[in-house]
């Protein structure tokens, strides 16, 4: 029987982080990029909770995770508002097509 330990959580978190980065870099749609961002934040959350649990560090880590979740929500709200604004302006939300500002 596989014993689930700290290492497993960390692996999952690392995979999530990498997927997040991958998503951010490859997705064209701004919303999908934001999804990638959520993956990164959640990877961090998993770390916090896992360390907190397995490192006998009290509940600090878990509280941090809560903070992050709330913050992610706030960020998502603002982000979607901005994306909406962009959609109004450019009629699309493809991040690689919004490149008027450059050298």
């Amino acid at each position: 029987m596989l014993q689930v330990g700290l290492a497993h959580f960390l692996v999952v978190s690392a995979i999530l982080f990498s997927l997040g980065i991958y998503g951010i870099i490859t997705r064209k749609n701004a919303v999908m990029v934001l999804m990638g961002l959520e993956l990164i934040l959640n990877a961090a959350n998993i770390n916090f909770v896992a360390f907190s649990k397995y490192g006998n560090l009290g509940i600090n880590g878990q509280i941090v995770a809560l903070f992050v979740i709330i913050l992610a929500a706030a960020e998502a709200a603002i982000a979607l508002a901005i994306v909406l604004n962009v959609y109004k302006t450019f009629a699309n939300v493809n991040v690689d097509e919004i490149n008027n500002l450059k050298d």
């Binding site: 870099i25 991040v95 690689d96 008027n100 450059k102 050298d103």
Partner: protein, 695 residues
């Protein structure tokens, strides 16, 4: 006459012409008659110099008058000590004689010019420049130190520049002026370095102090070779001013100036300055240096004489004759015949001035015709000019009863003795050859100009004798070509006052082992005014040389004259045919040994090319590194032979270009796509991790 009076008078003599210059230059435009002021000034100067000479020679013949003051004082530093730069004057016999000669000729030239230059657009300015020139020349004569000598040396250069270029509208005149100045500067650099050596060693420019130190065995950098070098370097100044080979090329060109100017500066004064300089430093010349000087002088006299043989411009013949005679003087100094050199300087000044002024008279009469092939028969039209001209020609050819005979004979005897004593026989051989050639080309000139039939009738018909203002100077100068002024014995100058009491060979101060053996001497009299006591050997040899030299010079001169008459007067032999027969030699002579062409092809064009190359280098390379791309383009075009444009600015510009290029390249990574930026972030993290691993 007290010393201070001498001093004051000399200073007045020196500065009067400068006053004339300043006044005439500044006010000349307003007052057209102002040139008379200059003439008055120069006449007074002349009178004063006669007084000074008289009192000096009559009453204090053995005593030199020296007056000096500190001009610049700097120093008290470890390496240099206190440096006092003195200015001062030294009045000795040589000086007073020179004062007389310079002022006399200057005055005569002034007078001559009144008529000759009449109608010139810059009439007053011409006289102003003459004043400046006289001032400069007098400065050289009276100075007691090398620095002041150099200062006036350069001022002579300046005034000759102004005088030669008087008719600057003519390109040839402007060219000649520039050439004179620059060629002189080449010699001056040598002289300047020589002065630097002396100053570095002795911390003074004053002749007597330097000579005293040398006589005490203190020689530059403790090396006899340096002493020799110093002598030769200072002599280089004379090479330039006295138009010695290879720097003689300026003098013939300088004939572009007004003819009286030629008489003044190219016969009597400026060119004599070089000889005068060598007489001043004579005592510090080593045997090697003297040999060099003798050889240069001899060679110059030969070169110039050969060129003079074929020239057709009346002034060019005289110019080369001057060069040749200067070579004589230099040679004479080189062989140790100091007194004869100076003697020749004086006699030559008079008869050559007479010749130049005479030629001026001819040119004036012929309405600025200078080619002797277009003259002829002028004897009848210009009797006085002819007479004086002939007198001077006889003198320069070295016919007895003339001053020229006395001085020239002495020089030849000196060379002969030198040849016997040292084995350098070539020098006397050249000396005698040149004597013959001189007689030949001078009579060729006289015959072609004054004898025979007129070849240009139109001009001949309009020719007439010049007014007395022009003729009087000729007469005075011609008269001075007669022996009687110098010695009662027409065959030997030794008995004359000039040789026996006025001018004496000074004691050499160089270390014993660097002198010629025959110059071994003991000091008699004062330090600076001792009298050389030649070794018995030298005295004997001089004695031995006297009559052979005299006879030979008379014979050779006679031969030259005869040849001239045969060829040009009686036309027994067709001169043109001979010329054709020896065409290459003839052309070589006619074209002045192709020296000008050689200089043009080497030194001048070399300098200009180097200048152009460096300029290109400056633009393209030094500055070009900033304008790099452009530089590359031009570099390629340069290779393909289109390098008419520009290199140093290149480096600077290349840098600028390079900076700009970086900026430009950086724009490429700034795509405006936010994902690209984030990729960079990820890469940055990875790179940082790789490079900044923990310790």
């Amino acid at each position: 006459m007290t010393e201070s009076l001498f001093t004051i008078l000399s200073i007045i003599i020196l500065f009067l012409p400068l006053l004339g210059f300043a006044v005439v230059l500044l006010l000349g435009k307003r007052l057209p008659k102002l040139y008379l002021f200059e003439i008055a000034v120069i006449s007074i100067t002349f009178l004063l110099s006669v007084i000074v000479m008289y009192f000096k020679l009559a009453y204090s013949i053995d005593r030199d008058i020296i007056a000096s003051f500190n001009w610049i004082t700097i120093g008290a530093a470890p390496l240099s000590g206190v440096l006092n730069i003195e200015l001062g004057i030294k009045i000795d016999n040589v000086t007073v004689i020179m004062l007389f000669v310079v002022n006399l000729i200057s005055m005569l030239v002034h007078i001559f010019s009144i008529e000759y230059m009449r109608g010139d657009i810059r009439y007053n300015r011409y006289f102003a420049y003459l004043g400046l020139f006289t001032f400069s020349m007098l400065g050289i004569v009276v100075t007691h130190n090398l620095l002041m000598m150099y200062i006036y040396w350069e001022l002579v250069g300046l005034s000759s520049y102004l005088l030669i270029g008087h008719w600057f509208e003519k390109k040839s005149a402007a060219d000649a002026a520039k050439k004179a100045f620059i060629v002189n500067r080449i010699g001056d650099i040598g002289m300047f370095i020589g002065i630097l050596i002396l100053f570095t060693q002795y911390k003074t420019f004053t002749f007597d102090k330097i000579f005293y130190q040398i006589s005490q065995g203190n020689i530059p950098f403790n090396s006899e070779a340096w002493l020799t070098a110093t002598g030769i370097l200072i002599f280089m100044g004379a090479v330039g001013k006295s138009a010695q080979f290879p720097l003689h090329v300026w003098l013939p060109d300088a004939m572009e100036g007004p003819t009286p100017v030629s008489a003044l500066i190219h016969a009597a004064t400026m060119v004599a300055a070089g000889v005068f300089l060598v007489t001043r430093v004579f005592v510090m010349l080593t045997a090697d240096a003297m040999l060099v000087i003798a050889v240069v002088g001899a060679f110059t006299s030969l070169v110039a004489a050969t060129i003079a043989l074929t020239q057709n411009d009346i002034k060019k013949v005289l110019a080369y004759s001057t060069v040749s005679q200067l070579g004589y003087m230099i040679m004479s100094l080189g062989v140790g015949a100091y007194v004869f050199a100076f003697f020749h300087l004086v006699t030559h000044a008079f008869f050559k001035a007479c010749l130049f002024l005479g030629s001026g008279s001819v040119i004036h009469a012929m309405h600025h015709e200078q080619d002797i092939r277009n003259m002829g028969g002028l004897r009848k039209k210009l009797p006085l000019t002819y007479a004086t001209f002939l007198m001077s020609t006889i003198a320069i050819s070295g016919i007895p009863l003339t001053s020229g005979f006395l001085s020239k004979d002495g020089i030849l005897a000196g060379t002969l003795a030198f040849g016997k004593l040292t084995g350098h026989w070539l020098i006397p051989i050249i000396g005698f050859t040149v004597a013959a050639m001189t007689a030949f080309y001078m009579f060729r000139l006289v015959i072609l100009t004054f004898h025979g039939k007129p070849r240009d009738h139109h001009k001949y018909d309009h020719a007439h004798e010049s007014s007395w203002v022009m003729v009087a100077p000729l007469v005075v100068l011609a008269a001075l070509s007669i022996f009687i002024w110098y010695t009662p014995n027409p065959l030997s100058p030794d008995a004359g006052w000039f040789m026996s009491s006025w001018v004496k060979t000074p004691v050499t101060v160089v270390p014993e082992n660097t002198r010629f053996e025959f110059m071994q001497s003991a000091v008699q009299g004062g330090e600076s005014h001792g009298e050389i006591v030649h070794s018995p050997l030298y005295t004997e040899t001089m004695h031995w040389a006297h009559y052979p030299a005299m006879i030979m010079s008379i014979v050779l001169a006679g031969f030259g004259i005869l040849l001239a008459f045969t060829l040009y007067q009686w036309k027994k032999i067709n001169a043109d045919k001979i010329a054709d027969r020896i065409k290459p030699l003839y052309n070589f002579s006619l074209n002045k040994w192709y020296l000008d062409e050689a200089y043009d092809a080497t030194a001048i064009s070399g300098t200009i090319s180097l200048a152009k190359i460096l300029s290109w280098f400056d633009n393209k390379i030094v500055d070009g590194a900033v304008n790099g791309s452009a530089w590359l383009g031009r570099f390629v075009s340069k290779i393909s032979g289109l390098f008419d444009t520009y290199v140093i600015d290149g480096f600077v510009n290349f840098t600028a270009f390079f900076s700009g290029f970086i900026g430009f390249a950086l724009r490429k990574i700034h795509t405006g796509k936010v994902q690209t930026y984030l990729v960079f972030v990820v890469f940055a993290v990875i790179i940082l991790l790789l490079f900044f691993k923990p310790f």
